[in-house]
Amino acid sequence: MAILSRLAQASKVMVTSVRHGGGIGGQIHNRPSRWNWDLFKDHLHFYIMLGAIPIGMWITMANIMKGPAVLSPIPEGYVPQEHEYYKSPITRWFVKNIYNSYQEVYESYLGTVWEEEKKRCMYQLYQEARRQQKLHQDYKGWYTKLKTAEYMRMSMKSKQDAEEARGFEP
């Protein structure tokens, strides 16, 4: 009798209280995260709507309306403008309105080369002056250390005072 009643009580061992709130306000179901998938969809949407579609339309319209240029010999006595050296209409637009021309970039680089050469020559002269000073050791320049006389006097006095304090040991 006692065993049977003990066995009947076994179903009451693992008993926990469960709160559902009556189901009011909806139910949260336990499920895996969809955050990465949602983020991927966001990125895809962004790059297509703001990137691929506008730029694709720009490229398509440029090629349909304007079209690529055709290679031709340069007419006699004519100097082509910078944007007439390129084939695609979009590149031509960039070169015409935004980019610096080849000649401009080249000549400004020549100016840079000249300036750097001047700096290099000045530095070479500077180094030669130092070399001569080191060689002859006769110039008040890099290899002479200047000391103010006041500091010399101070250090001499402090040395004398220390000797007087401790005495002179032969």
Binding site: I64, A69, V70, Y85, L110
Partner: protein
């Protein structure tokens, strides 16, 4: 390409055996593209022109002072451009020779020669075939290119090339033309 001169003559469509297949391929792949291109040309009107850039000649490296770095830089740039142009010229001459051989060799199994045995056409040194002249022009140009630019490395400079020429002229002054051997350092034969 094939239909740019005539609308109704794509290549090989009048072949007795494969004409039908060629026409089918043309109709599937080429004809829609050509139709679309014609529609675009109607929309666009006259196409614009683009040109290849022409570089003005500047003084070469032998006309520059040693300290004039701007002159030397420009001479170097011109040298690099000239090397590319002359390399392309060699390419064109080589293609001309290959096309000449291909055109002259004939067809069928008799025209098949393995690569290591040479060209299917007689271009040995004494032959009078027209491809022999083309081959000689190519080989001469190749030899001159090697004399000028050879063995200077991947990024040669104009100074290196100029000095290579100077060293070659000095060597030729001492030893005779290139290819005739070097003279040894013997003292004078007889001194009396």
């Amino acid at each position: 390409m094939a239909a740019s001169d005539k609308d109704e003559f794509p290549v090989y469509t009048n072949h007795p055996v494969f004409g039908g297949i060629a026409t089918l391929g043309y109709n599937i792949f080429a004809a829609p593209a050509i139709w679309f291109n014609k529609k675009l040309e109607a929309i666009r009107g006259e196409p614009q022109a683009f040109y290849h850039r022409r570089y003005p000649r500047v003084p070469t490296i032998d006309e520059c002072y040693r300290d004039d770095v701007v002159c030397r830089f420009e001479a170097n740039q011109q040298f690099m451009r000239d090397k590319l142009v002359e390399g392309q010229m060699i390419d064109i001459l080589r293609q001309r020779f290959n096309e000449c051989v291909f055109y002259e060799k004939g067809s069928g199994m008799s025209a098949y020669v393995p690569l290591h045995e040479g060209a299917p056409v007689d271009v040995s040194p004494g032959s009078t075939h027209q491809c022999r002249a083309v081959l000689e022009a190519f080989e001469k140009a190749n030899e001159n290119f090697f004399i000028k630019y050879g063995e200077l490395g991947k990024f040669p400079t104009a100074e290196q090339c100029y000095l290579k020429q100077k060293h070659r002229l000095m060597w030729e002054r001492r030893h005779g033309p290139v290819g005739t051997g070097m003279k040894t350092d013997e003292p004078a034969a007889s001194q009396e």
